[in-house]
């Protein structure tokens, strides 16, 4: 490993890394705009100029690879002068819209100005170049050309990552501006990423702008549930509401990016249709009740049926939207508590959903299909359940996170499952299946729980609770633990880490893993690991 000395500190840096990365390893920040580890190096912003001993000119850190014995100064007089100079140049034609700019608070121009410049402007306000503002470039991206620092991150993203090249830089000199080609717009399933990588407020998200000042937002690391890729994300929320998702770097899963479908997936989690109390059928209506009566009612129906028709008169459908822990808990309840083998899974994607592509998107819109398989649950099995209903063997169905009515259509659902005695649905929203249920138990959506998903590559990734579920909704594993208790009086773990531990004991695929040790990048299922 080459040894470099940065600001007097000797650093072992892996071969091939640049000075920005090497400095970062030692906790030294070299400010930069155009450099992005997921894109090619253009070296145009000049913010990263540093003094490298033996080089006559200052060198751009982004384009300087470490070499053994290199001595670098990031705080020398010459470096500081260059940093101040670049910031002064950047601000000459900058509109300084901070009070009305959505980027304020997470803007690299603001931040670096405070950290590296902090001097009064020598450029008269009235002489700034005027360019386009609030331009809707398409795909939910808004462009402000005056705020742009022309770092070419956005253009490189469309050139190098999506290969669609919708944005380009036009004109020359200080008339340069980012724009779309005449008559064309950004039309791209990954467009939101340019908003993330834009270091300033030049590119903002149409849906997010003016909705929340970023300094009020809390960030919780999580996993996108939009498809079986399971991109690592950060959930940004405030007082129990999500305002945006952003991709979180995970080299094993999504790199630096996420798709727009996933990015814009969260409003579905905070719809009016969210369930906030257990419901029970009262003639042709569902009426709310408390958890205790709800679980008592359900337990007695189950026990009655078991006694009268045997354990296999009770069945369960586990949707691939369920977490590993939820699926394990319900499987455990069915097999071990009730002794029923009638468990099916559902991994359903709506018609017309996007297919696999070369970057991230997967046709399977379920985050945990692979996790259900790793738990030894059958893929599908709905037909067997329907046959058992038809044969009069299956009487009670527990449905967790699977909207069977939407999936099958009402007619088909009634044809297959209409003869059931009783159906209970555990879900987040009052969907069509709930309308057909005898009982509904409200459960937490994934930003509201601890847990894990296993993506299609077999990588187990961790969810963190951003905020508690609404109303009386409970994490599904807690609801199932309470149901178990109501059934047999026994105690069951209801914390995700404990359910995970139980699962790691019982299931070969999860052996040796713990929820806590998954880490930000997740970990591979046992058997996939070398």
């Amino acid at each position: 490993m080459p040894k470099v000395t940065i600001d007097g500190r000797e650093i072992d840096a892996p071969e091939g890394v640049n000075l920005i990365q090497a400095a970062e390893r030692a906790g030294i920040e070299i400010p930069h705009y155009c450099y992005h580890p997921g894109l090619s190096i253009v070296g145009n912003c000049r913010m990263c100029l540093v003094e490298v001993e033996k080089a006559p000119k200052l060198q751009i850190a982004c384009n300087t690879r470490v070499a053994d014995g290199m001595v670098v100064h990031t705080k020398s007089e010459r470096t500081i002068r260059a940093q101040k100079a670049v910031l002064e140049f950047l601000l000459i034609n900058h509109p300084i819209d901070c009070p009305v700019c959505d980027q304020a608070g997470e803007c690299k121009l603001q931040d670096y100005y405070m950290d590296y410049d902090a001097q009064a402007s020598r450029f008269p306000l009235g002489k700034k170049n005027k360019k386009g503002k609030a331009i809707d470039v398409g795909s939910g991206v808004m462009l402000d050309q005056e705020r742009c620092v022309l770092c070419a991150r956005c253009t490189r993203f469309f050139d190098e990552i999506t290969h669609t090249s919708e944005l380009a830089i036009f004109q020359r000199g200080d008339h340069c501006e980012v724009d779309t080609y005449p008559g064309h717009k950004v039309d791209n399933k990954y467009a939101g990423n340019v908003v993330d990588i834009c270091p300033v407020g030049a590119l903002t998200e149409k849906d997010f702008r003016f909705r929340m000042r970023v300094w009020y937002l809390h960030r919780t690391p999580s996993v996108c549930a939009g498809c079986e890729r399971g991109c690592s994300i950060d959930v940004y929320h405030h007082r129990g509401r999500i305002y945006r998702y952003k991709p979180r770097h995970n080299p094993a899963v999504n790199g630096y990016w996420m798709c727009d479908e996933g990015r814009h997936g969260f409003p579905a989690l905070q719809n009016e249709t969210r369930l906030t109390a257990p419901l029970v059928q009262d003639k042709d209506r569902l009426v709310p009740e408390g958890w205790a009566p709800a679980l008592r009612r359900l337990a007695s129906r189950i026990l009655e049926s078991g006694n009268a028709h045997g354990a296999n008169s009770i069945g369960a459908v586990i949707g691939a939207q369920s977490t590993n822990e939820e699926a394990f808990a319900l499987k455990h309840l069915m097999l071990d508590t009730l002794g029923s083998e009638r468990v099916a899974t559902v991994s359903w994607s709506p018609a017309g959903a996007s297919g696999d592509d070369e970057l991230l998107l997967r046709a399977n819109k379920n985050p945990n299909t692979r996790g259900l398989a790793a738990l030894g649950l059958p893929a599908h099995g709905l037909d067997a359940l329907a046959d058992a209903v038809a044969a009069g063997e299956l009487k009670i169905l527990i449905v967790m996170r699977a909207d069977l009515v939407r999936m099958l259509g009402e007619e088909e659902f009634v044809r297959r499952f209409g003869a059931l005695d009783y159906m209970v649905v555990l879900d987040t929203d009052a969907n069509e299946t709930c309308q057909m249920a005898n009982q509904v138990l409200p459960i937490a959506a994934y930003p509201e729980i601890e847990g894990s998903f296993t993506n299609f590559q077999g990588r187990v990734q961790r969810l963190h609770q951003a905020f508690p579920p609404p109303g009386q909704a409970l994490p599904a594993i807690e609801a199932l633990a309470r149901l178990g208790h109501a059934l047999d009086g026994g105690a069951r773990p209801s914390a995700a880490k404990d359910v995970f531990a139980q699962m790691a004991d019982a299931e070969a695929g999860f052996r040796g893993l713990t929820l806590e040790a998954l880490g930000p990048d997740g970990a591979e299922l046992t058997g996939l690991r070398p």
Binding site: L90, I92, L150, G173, H175
Partner: protein, 439 residues
């Protein structure tokens, strides 16, 4: 002195292949192909101390020797005919009048570095020049000098001509390569240098038209002959583009090291209107200005001009007489670089515009004394901090004009107008004439 690079002045129709050959044309190529190994060509050019005429004065043979000898990728030669430096107009005459001299230089260079393809990048406005060059290439191809088997040697060279769309930055060698590849002419960060990763990611030599036209003469007459012209470290015949306030502006071929004073007063016939000399930019607009006192002491070769505090660049000598408003002159220069900055890197993109705005205000009498310091500061902050040296090309004039003609800059601030104009904004000279007429 014998004319070497401007033989068309002595030989009518030199641009025609038969005439060119009748005057010894393509003998150097024959020699390079059949009597010399590529290594020997490079060594001869190295020994000649030929230095690049495109502006940077880099030793040509040394540049060629950077091309990897066992390159697995093809090697390219690019002839830089983008000639856009203000006050520079040598290549255009060469293209019009001596295209075979350029082609022969290209072919020998290709042989030396093992290239089978040369791209000639011409500035967008070079319509006639491209036609002349294309005609000459067609003639040479018909004769078997360009094509798959040059002179039956088994060595093939194809030459393509490409016209830019009119941007100064396309002359910067890496901007040229980007443009050639069909992209925006954004200069590249170095390393990698073109010799390792040039056109299409392959080893590439970029040489100026004039540089290449020296090559056949060096091959025919030898490095020692070449070095005997002018100073040994910066030798050779040189094309000087003389413009501005001289009686006989134009293109002159003179030996390197020729006194600037003689260029202006002898060759150029002295200052227009018998006025006094105020300043000279010796190398195109990109370099520090010489005051009259400095100018008359300078010899025009790369090292002497550098020693005197400027650079010879393209040898575009721009002469300014005593009536020139130096604030206005610098403003005009700033306007050019502001207009031509590719806008890629921050200091140049923003600095050039800032400097032009400051100078516009100063020239119009709206400036402040502190603007002079800001000018120097902004110029200093651009210098050396950018991807290419276009930023330095404005920085150097600013940092020489302001201190050398500081009294003029200050007068603009003090008077609140240009001292070379009257209160109505008319040039002072004109208003004198008007006043005389009124009397």
């Amino acid at each position: 002195m014998e004319r070497i690079l401007t033989r068309w002045l002595d030989i009518p129709d030199l641009r025609r292949l038969d005439v060119y050959e009748a005057h010894g044309g393509y003998k150097a190529l024959r020699k390079a192909l059949f009597d010399m190994k590529p290594e020997e060509i490079i060594n001869e050019v190295k020994a000649s101390n030929l230095r690049g005429r495109g502006g940077a004065a880099f030793p040509t043979g040394v540049k060629w020797s950077f091309i990897p000898k066992d390159s697995k990728k093809p090697v390219y030669v690019c002839c830089n005919a983008d000639e856009s430096e203000p006050g520079t107009f040598a290549n255009r005459y060469q293209l019009e009048n001596d295209p075979h001299g350029i082609i022969e230089g290209i072919l020998i260079t290709c042989r030396a570095v093992g290239a089978h393809t040369c791209y000639v990048y011409l500035r967008g406005e070079f319509n006639l020049q491209k036609r002349r060059l294309d005609e000459a290439i067609a003639e040479a191809r018909a004769k078997g000098y360009v094509g798959p088997d040059v002179m039956g040697s088994g060595f093939g060279v194809e030459i393509y001509t490409h016209r830019g769309a009119g941007a100064y930055i396309c002359g910067e060698e890496t901007g040229l390569l980007e443009s050639l590849e069909g992209k925006r002419a954004y200069p590249r960060n170095r390393p990698p240098f073109p010799a390792i990763q040039g056109a299409f990611g392959c080893p590439t030599v970029v040489n100026n038209v004039e540089t290449l036209t020296n090559v056949p003469h060096i091959i025919t007459r030898g490095a020692d002959w070449y070095k005997s012209i002018g100073p040994e470290k910066s030798p050779g015949p040189k094309l000087f583009c003389l413009s501005g306030h001289v009686n006989k502006p134009g293109l002159y071929e003179l030996p390197m090291g020729y006194p600037l004073k003689d260029l202006i007063y002898e060759v150029g016939g002295g200052i227009l209107g018998g006025k006094k000399l105020k300043g000279v930019i010796p190398g195109g607009s990109s370099f520090p200005v010489f005051t009259a006192e400095e100018a008359v002491k300078v010899a025009m070769d790369f090292d002497s001009v550098r020693a005197a505090g400027s650079l010879m660049g393209t040898a575009g000598v721009m002469v300014m007489n005593e009536d020139t408003c130096m604030v206005d002159a610098l403003k005009t220069i700033a306007h050019f670089y502001h207009h031509e900055s590719c806008g890629q890197c921050t200091p140049c993109r923003e600095g050039c515009g800032w400097i032009e705005k400051l100078l516009t205000d100063l020239e119009a009498g709206r400036g402040r004394m502190e603007d002079l310091e800001i000018l120097i500061d902004a110029a200093t902050n651009m210098e050396g901090n950018t991807v290419c040296v276009l930023a330095d090309s404005l920085s150097m004039p600013v940092k020489s004009f302001v201190p050398k003609y500081r009294d003029e800059f200050e007068a603009h601030v003090r008077l609140g107008r240009c001292p070379f104009r009257d209160v109505h904004g008319e040039p002072a000279e004109k208003s004198h004439a008007a006043a005389a007429a009124a009397r």
